[in-house]
């Protein structure tokens, strides 16, 4: 597989590898893919009160393209607002890394991972607010 220099760089020096505390209410965790398919991405974001993603981490089980796509995704969304991060498209990842056609699905999974992390964060925030605003139990 002839990979672009940028892709190889992300593979050799992946950015933001690691984990954030799942139980932290400011952390959203996205887990997409399946081992049987050969691709699993875990992407986490920590969002501050202003709705800005101040930290992002990833772990990926997958080929070089999958690792690079998810590494790039975390690099991009750090500093973005949640709304901006929702707009990240897989086609941008394909272009940046010059993914061959047979590897485009890796970029789709990375986009899914971002959205999944945001969805998790939003649902945690929603339950938090619901709990805060719930009427006191009798």
């Amino acid at each position: 597989m002839a990979y672009s220099e940028k892709l190889l760089d992300h593979y050799e020096n992946p950015r933001n590898v690691g984990s954030l505390d799942k139980s932290d209410p400011h952390v959203g965790t996205g887990l997409v893919g399946a081992p049987a398919c050969g691709d699993v991405m875990k992407l986490q974001i920590r969002v501050n009160d202003a709705g800005v993603i101040e930290d992002a981490r990833f772990k990926t089980f997958g080929c070089g393209s999958a690792i690079a796509s998810s590494s790039l995704a975390t690099e991009w969304i750090k500093g973005m607002s949640v709304d901006q991060a929702m707009l990240v498209k897989n086609t941008q990842i394909v272009e940046e890394l010059n993914l061959p056609p047979v590897k485009i699905h890796c970029s789709v999974l990375a986009e899914d991972a971002i959205k999944s992390a945001i969805a998790d964060y939003k649902s945690k925030q929603a339950s938090l607010h619901a709990a805060q605003h719930a009427p006191a139990a009798e």
Binding site: M1, V32, P35, A36, C37, V40, G62
Partner: protein, 405 residues
């Protein structure tokens, strides 16, 4: 001695040419360049002599005579000629063919084509260790069975089939026995008489010989007949027309002769290096699985799955070693290896498999370098792996509902 990169450990895919083989071939390009079928001059006679010497060398390397060797362009052609040739010639005796799920595509795709013509094909499942049992062959045979085709050794997992036992059962039921001997020939003893084989596919490029030349062994006692695929001149007793690849054939003969001569000591050496590699990796890396039988296996082959990481990403980290993987990502079709699947290897482990094929020219130094490189890269990829993280946390991966797309 300085290591040369990438280190070649993919000898199940092909082998480098032995310099002695090349030396034997060279005069046949620019000095003895006659057409072996030219009966009227010395150039032709010299070429023919080279071919006939090679015929004896290849024949005796499998316990056959030179007269029973038909030259082809490679084992793929030999597989096609054997299976289609026998099926068509003997179709009045029956229409049932038996083969296995783990055969090379040259056999499987040929059988699929015959199915379209109306033949019935049974694709036998392997045991968990990857071997085809003689019992399963016997049970599948009917009075319509005309041909059984089982490989001597598998290219992906290196397991060796009980060919002699299978031959007994096939002969008892009077069907033809074809063996794709490509992976075992020259590496382990293979005798067509002892195994009751009627047809055997061979190739030069797995024996440190040139690519583009192979052979089909066709038994003469009793005489096996085939319908030829290629017409035009009647070469090779009418079974395969076409001007012979004289230099290639000469190389093939020399390669086969060398393998026969060196087989015992080479098997010992490959086995020792293979075990050094396996032990080295398994002592430094946890959660590894060997695919296929360890007991009945080609001496230089090992196929290892590394849990929780993916094969193509590992191969990218192993740029200094030439090996191959059963991962979907490395195949053009995105499907994991059908051989590993047939062995019952779970999909996620199939994705992480790496095949190492040690050969004549590998050294201890190379093996030690590879052990170190593989161990380091696997460790690094495990740090990146969400699956490994979950397992460390005590989560059972089988309990997770994956959101696959």
């Amino acid at each position: 001695m300085a290591l040369k990169f990438p280190i070649y450990m993919d000898n199940n895919a092909t082998t480098p040419m032995d310099p002695r083989v090349l030396e034997t071939m060279l005069p046949f390009f620019t000095e003895h360049y006659g057409n072996a079928a030219s009966r009227s001059h010395a150039y032709g006679w010299e070429a023919e002599k080279g071919v006939e010497t090679a015929r004896e060398q290849v024949g005796s390397s499998i316990g056959a005579t030179g007269k029973e060797i038909v030259w082809t362009s490679g084992a793929t052609e030999s597989d096609n000629l054997a299976i289609k040739g026998a099926a068509h010639f003997y179709k009045d005796r029956g229409n049932h063919i038996i083969t296995s799920q783990t055969e090379h595509k040259a056999v499987l795709d040929t059988c699929k084509r015959l199915e379209k013509e109306g033949f019935e094909v049974t694709y036998l499942a392997t045991q968990a260790d990857g071997r085809i049992s003689a019992e399963s062959v016997e049970q599948a045979m009917t009075d319509k069975t005309i041909l059984v085709s089982i490989m001597l050794a598998n290219n992906e997992v290196g397991v060796i089939n009980p060919i002699a036992e299978i031959g007994e059962r096939v002969k008892a039921r009077k069907a033809l026995f074809h063996v794709d001997a490509v992976q075992g020939h020259g590496r382990i003893p293979f005798d067509v008489e002892a195994c009751k084989v009627d047809l055997a596919s061979l190739t030069a490029h797995k024996l440190y010989g040139p690519k583009g030349v192979g052979a089909l062994y066709v038994r003469r006692k009793p005489r096996i007949r085939l319908e030829a695929m290629i017409d035009g001149g009647g070469h090779e007793r009418g079974m395969r027309s076409g001007t012979l690849n004289v230099p290639g054939i000469v190389g093939f003969g020399k390669a086969a002769a060398l393998c026969t001569e060196l087989m015992e000591q080479e098997a010992k050496k490959s086995f020792a290096l293979r075990e050094r590699l396996r032990e080295g990796i398994q002592s430094r890396v946890t959660d590894t699985f060997i695919n296929g039988s360890m007991e009945h296996r080609l001496p230089g082959n090992i196929n290892i799955s590394f849990a929780y990481i993916e094969g193509e990403s590992l191969l990218m980290g192993l740029k200094d070693v030439a090996v191959s993987s059963g991962s979907a990502c490395t195949s053009a079709s995105l499907e994991p290896s059908y051989v590993l699947r047939a062995l019952g290897v779970e999909e996620e482990l199939a994705h992480t498999s790496i095949r190492f094929g040690i050969g004549r020219f590998n050294t201890e130094e190379e093996v030690d370098f590879v052990i170190d490189l593989v161990s380091r890269k696997v460790t690094k990829l495990r740090e990146l792996s969400p699956l490994y993280e979950m397992v460390q946390e005590g989560i059972d991966l089988k309990s997770i509902q994956w959101a696959a797309h």
